[in-house]
């Protein structure tokens, strides 16, 4: 089957066309933080600049959260997740706090690599998500992001650009479809 398909492609493909070079596009705006915040607002992302520390942010934003997973913040974490943690534990997570590697100003997308998310499903299955991002890790656009990300390094990587959402019923926007109901980004 494989050879049959490849053979037909070889017969039918047009003459080789060159691969274009992607130019360095200038940032849409110079002030990346302001741009990021503005786009984030449009995607229902809460953006906070850490002044009082992540503990305060959690206490203020998610006072109800009990099952908290925060591998980088032992003082916050109430549940430790391992590769063996059963589904029952995963599905009861109220809040997940992770450190993002990169943020992209043009679309408020944040890059999470597999090592930092512990389990691939965590950023989706958690009820709420906090991502912590150092401001110096903010990039202007997706070209810059893909230039820095090495996809082959890990088994899985993810851009998150907001809480899970849908508009499948009459184009009416609903936040909190199948994944996290809210996303807070803490810029440090």
């Amino acid at each position: 089957m494989r050879e049959e398909i490849l053979q037909r492609i070889r017969q039918n493909k047009p003459q080789l066309r060159p691969l274009p070079k992607i130019p360095d596009f200038a940032p849409l705006r110079e002030d990346l933080v302001a741009h990021f915040k503005e786009v984030a607002q449009g995607a229902a992302i809460e953006v906070l600049e850490e002044e009082e520390g992540i503990t305060t942010v959690v206490a203020q934003q998610y006072p109800e959260a009990k099952q908290i997973v925060a591998p980088a913040y032992p003082e916050l974490q109430t549940v430790a997740i391992t590769q063996e943690s059963p589904l029952e534990v995963l599905q009861n997570i109220d809040l997940l706090v992770l450190e993002a590697e990169w943020g992209v100003a043009e679309n408020a997308a944040l890059w999470l690599s597999e090592v930092r998310m512990l389990r691939r499903v965590l950023p989706f299955i958690t009820q709420h998500l906090i991502l912590v991002l150092p401001q110096v890790q903010l990039l202007a656009n997706m070209h810059q992001a893909y230039a820095r990300i090495n996809l082959t390094e890990q088994g899985f990587g993810l851009f998150v650009a907001g809480p899970s959402k849908t508009a499948d019923i009459e184009q009416s926007l609903v936040i909190g479809a199948q994944g996290a109901r809210s996303l807070t980004v803490v810029l440090t």
Binding site: N12, N107, N141, A147, G155, D168, I169, G179
Partner: protein, 455 residues
């Protein structure tokens, strides 16, 4: 009347609903305009995307081989399917081997094209579509009417009634927030129970052997990261050469589709998670044949954003189901004749050739040009209905001979008696039912010219 015309007339019979449908989609188009306008290099990105895809199509065999080798090295099992049946069989074989009973599936136009759900259901597998819109139409037992917004044709009241019956929601509660929450609870329990998960693929990277899947709801990831078996089905044209090209495509896709700067989740699957299996099925199903058609191969560039549907003045007023094809709208009308020209020969005619689709397309597919060329092809292969063709052939003869044309025109100062054969060939009624005919002037331009200018 063509099948599309009949279905469209049916849809339009409810004019307020047609207006609602038109406005809903136009709203998405305007969101797309705003999002595109925020990127000064938008047109340059479209050109880049188009050029990258040109390169892909011209080197598809090597990229596929490269992709396969990389994916295998990543521990992924790669399968090749020459057609829909082979694809479905591969999926079934994988499921059977794992004794899987329930499979969750995120949106995949390819599996719609292959009619995977009925194939698996006949073999005792329960398939749960997990995109909210897809779940709605699955419960309604309808096909999607749009590739990005599958349930765009439904009103909240209809979804409310459906959920009341299927998910035991409160009677009369049609609040989208409430209904979405009900679906969330229902689907979360499905994710937990699933034995396997299948997704479509937005981009497959030859260089890395990985696949990229974009969703807003996060349903594709909820599925594949929980189930012990992860399957990605992709058309062979989804290949892109390198990871850097994702920069171009992710900037275009979300903005073109819904006016978002990017889809909420852009997931990059490289290797299976420990202790589980990851499969990628490369599906041809007519694509390698399609690649050989010079005038039509460009449509293989499509990244399934749906922008041509949202902008199409016909689609907006006839609904996706009027196209009777997995992919409706302008792009569907140029893709479908590749697989079954006979069955879809009405679709290339379901257009005014206004060209909005080609201008909105993020990969610059010459959609309206292809519609025009398909028309030529269709007449060449199967002809038009005899009467129509006779009338048009006669018209052609008249128009190629000025004397005959002038006589026809002049003798018939009562031009309207000629015009129908001449221009509208199958009678005045289809025009005249809903529109007035032009008033017949005292004299033609030609006559005026002879009297007033010709010495």
């Amino acid at each position: 009347m063509s099948e599309h015309a009949k279905k469209a007339a049916n849809f339009i019979a409810d004019e307020p609903r047609t207006d609602w449908h038109d406005e809903s989609l136009w709203f998405v188009r305007t969101k797309r305009d705003r999002a595109a306008a925020s990127v000064p290099e938008w047109e340059q990105l479209r050109q880049l995307a188009s050029d990258i895809k040109d390169n892909v199509l011209s080197n598809l065999d090597s990229y596929l081989e490269q992709f396969e080798a990389q994916a295998r090295a990543n521990g992924v099992q790669v399968h090749w399917a020459k057609d829909a049946h082979a694809h479905n069989e591969i999926v079934y074989t994988i499921l059977e081997r794992h004794q899987a009973q329930r499979m969750v599936k995120s949106k995949s136009m390819l599996t719609e094209e292959c009619h995977l759900n009925p194939y698996l259901e006949e073999r005792g597998i329960t398939v749960i579509d997990t995109d909210l819109g897809e779940r709605i139409i699955q419960l309604l037992e309808e096909p999607p009417s749009h590739i990005v917004m599958p349930a765009i044709h439904l009103k909240r009241e209809e979804v409310g009634e459906l959920f009341e019956e299927k998910l035991a929601t409160e009677k009369g509660n049609n609040d989208p927030q409430y209904l979405t929450e009900a679906a969330r609870q229902h689907l979360r329990s499905e994710f937990m129970q699933a034995d396997a998960a299948l997704t479509g693929v937005n981009f497959a990277i030859a260089e890395t052997g990985g696949v990229v899947v974009c969703t807003n709801e996060g349903n594709a990831d909820m599925g594949v990261h929980l189930a012990p078996v992860q399957i990605h089905s992709m058309g062979i044209e989804k290949i892109i050469p390198r990871a850097e090209h994702l920069g171009v495509f992710t900037r275009l896709l979300g903005r073109s589709a819904t006016g978002q700067p990017i889809t909420i989740f852009t997931a990059h699957h490289q290797r299976p998670r420990p202790g589980t299996e990851m499969h990628i099925i490369l599906v041809d199903n007519g694509r390698s044949e399609h690649l050989g058609k010079k005038d039509f191969r460009n449509s293989l560039k499509c990244i399934r954003c749906g922008a041509c549907m949202n902008t199409c003045p016909i689609y907006r007023r006839s609904g996706g189901h009027s196209y009777d094809n997995t992919v409706p709208g302008p792009i569907g009308s140029i893709l479908s004749p590749n697989t079954d020209l006979e069955a879809h020969s009405d679709l290339p005619f379901a257009s005014t050739l206004c060209g909005s689709c080609s201008d909105v397309c993020p990969v610059k597919i010459d959609i309206h040009e292809q519609l025009y060329k398909w028309r030529q092809k269709i007449v060449e292969v199967q002809g038009l209905p005899a009467a129509k063709q006779r009338a048009l052939k006669m018209t052609g003869k008249i128009l190629a001979k000025p004397k005959v044309y002038q006589n026809a025109g002049f003798l018939a100062r009562n031009f309207l008696k000629v015009a129908p054969r001449f221009m509208v060939y199958n009678g005045l009624n289809e025009w005249g039912k809903s529109r007035e005919l032009p008033e017949v002037p005292k004299q033609s331009f030609r006559k005026w010219y002879r009297r007033n200018r010709r010495s």
